[in-house]
Symmetry: C2
Subunit: 335 residues, 2 copies
Amino acid sequence: MLSVRKRKILCLLVARYIETAEPVSSSDIKADYGEEISSATIRSELAKLEEMGYLMQPHVSAGRVPTAKGYKVFVESIPTEGGMLPAVADMREYLDRKMDEVGDVIRTTAKLLSDTTNYTSVIVVKNIGEVLVRDVRLVDIGQNKALVIIITDSGILKDCIIDLPADMGNTYLNTAMELLNRMFSMHTVEEIKELVDHVEDEIAQYKMILDQIITSLERYQNRNQEVIIEGTSRLLDVPEYQEEADRMRGVMSIIDHKELLTDMVGDGELELSFKIGKDDGIENGSLVTATYRINDNQQVHAGVIGPERMDYRKVVTILKNLETTIKSVMDDKED
Amino acid sequence: MLSVRKRKILCLLVARYIETAEPVSSSDIKADYGEEISSATIRSELAKLEEMGYLMQPHVSAGRVPTAKGYKVFVESIPTEGGMLPAVADMREYLDRKMDEVGDVIRTTAKLLSDTTNYTSVIVVKNIGEVLVRDVRLVDIGQNKALVIIITDSGILKDCIIDLPADMGNTYLNTAMELLNRMFSMHTVEEIKELVDHVEDEIAQYKMILDQIITSLERYQNRNQEVIIEGTSRLLDVPEYQEEADRMRGVMSIIDHKELLTDMVGDGELELSFKIGKDDGIENGSLVTATYRINDNQQVHAGVIGPERMDYRKVVTILKNLETTIKSVMDDKED
DNA sequence: GTTAGCAGTCAGGGATAGAGAGTGCCAAAT
DNA sequence: ATTTGGCACTCTCTATCCCTGACTGCTAAC
């Protein structure tokens, strides 16, 4: 629906605007165009592109500036197989430092991403699929409370503290643990819920414990979404925002309401996701994320947040490189 | 070292500047002064105050603006017994919502603080004093790993995963646990370190476990400092920062490097702490914190971060109110 | 030590003018 | 039917000027 020439002109314009931050004129494009073409021709094409909503003019005697819609055409044209950037060659070094947990890897990755792109970075970890319970342990911690440790196929759940009946005997906990393991082991949360509803009788006296554990499991499965943001102050480096602080607001409000991000990052199937401008939920801003699957149950969305006039090429290249780097580091951790 | 009249003039000036954000002239002060005094007299006092470093002039024919030093004199003059603000009357409501853990209380408090003051809020939780170990549990989680649960007098440590020797027998863990409890129970971390160094022989075969646990305990004692920041985007509401984004940088860099905050919040003994300006580590910004002790082992520093021209009176009042509110909520949680 | 008065300084706003950039449109060429 | 060259037009940007208003610092009198 966009002629080859229009697309080429549009992309050249966006590329130049990203570089110079100034409205692009017809003669600018003529200079970049390669083949011979007159500026008048370009002008008429620009007029049409503007009419179609890809461009806009700050004022009548200025060049053109891309709209969110215009940027989107541009980002589609970026080859995702971009070459290695010199700056990202040493990503591996960052990540090779000894790290105890996956959480550390994520946190470091966020820093790395912010440092290499010079934008504010964002990482969202999502649980996908069902959690399979492997083993359940109960640890008495005094004061009629117990700590529940649930070993699942995607990690260990250990933040669940439950209340115990006051008159509990000594063997009570052990029996409960046995029962729990018999019932829960190798089942998903959904299955466990079913089960508990059906065999009321046998477990009546442990009902209190069971309910608390199931609540906790459900919470784990549903809202275990971590959002990490690094390099907030890099927003200040963006010239657009320096001139008018108001423009920063759209981006800032997202940083303040991290929970919004979980829905804004890619939808899982897409490798790269671009959210640009108000219609996508970021006024005067843009969010580029890549989706990585680190294991069967967890998905990581990593990306950057910045102005609409973002260096998408660089960001895409870095995100692609990050994928291979993360994969290799994670694989090492498996051993 | 500052005459009564100079102090009065300085405080009137700061108060007015905080309100109007505009340089204050000698006649402005004359209007606020109460008693009869000529503007010429005030001018000569202002000149001296400027010479002493409490004030500055943006330009020669403008009024005066306080320096960081000037603000500090002002904040000393704020009565800490300020009355209840209408806006804070319902703090209790915020905090009354059911919250599972101390962590939740803290997080909600941060939001509350940001909402009531309209500044970015900051909360730092510090461990003070020695951690006393009460009980140690080991839970086998498969793959030659165990989860260590340490119940201390100030909380439960449950994020420590240790490696086990590969050829471990079935009773190994139980024996180790018994040994650990015998050795650790009711001792501080320092004492435990001593102990382990001395009775090498008996425990040789459990050395591996012990070392890992001690490392973990030390880390818990030292760096268990949580820093929570809420309402970052409120920085954008500050007029000073809107005009010149560069000024925001000082404050932003602190938000980006939370670890800096642990040293900047009050020194423990002081009830309220004011850090204003570059010399205090915040260029073009100011950090006001109050210190609350929530139990024998933990200290909470709560405060706000904003421009030098902050509404200190309001902030102080709110922080004072927060103290009573937090105390009452925490006491309820004890039950 | 305080006050009144006066001269001096400077920011801020409005008006004006010229330069430069870039477009839109039209008529001619392909 | 598309492309091109040319031209008139529009609008921003910058500089300059000037004026006004706001304060101050200073001095001399009280």
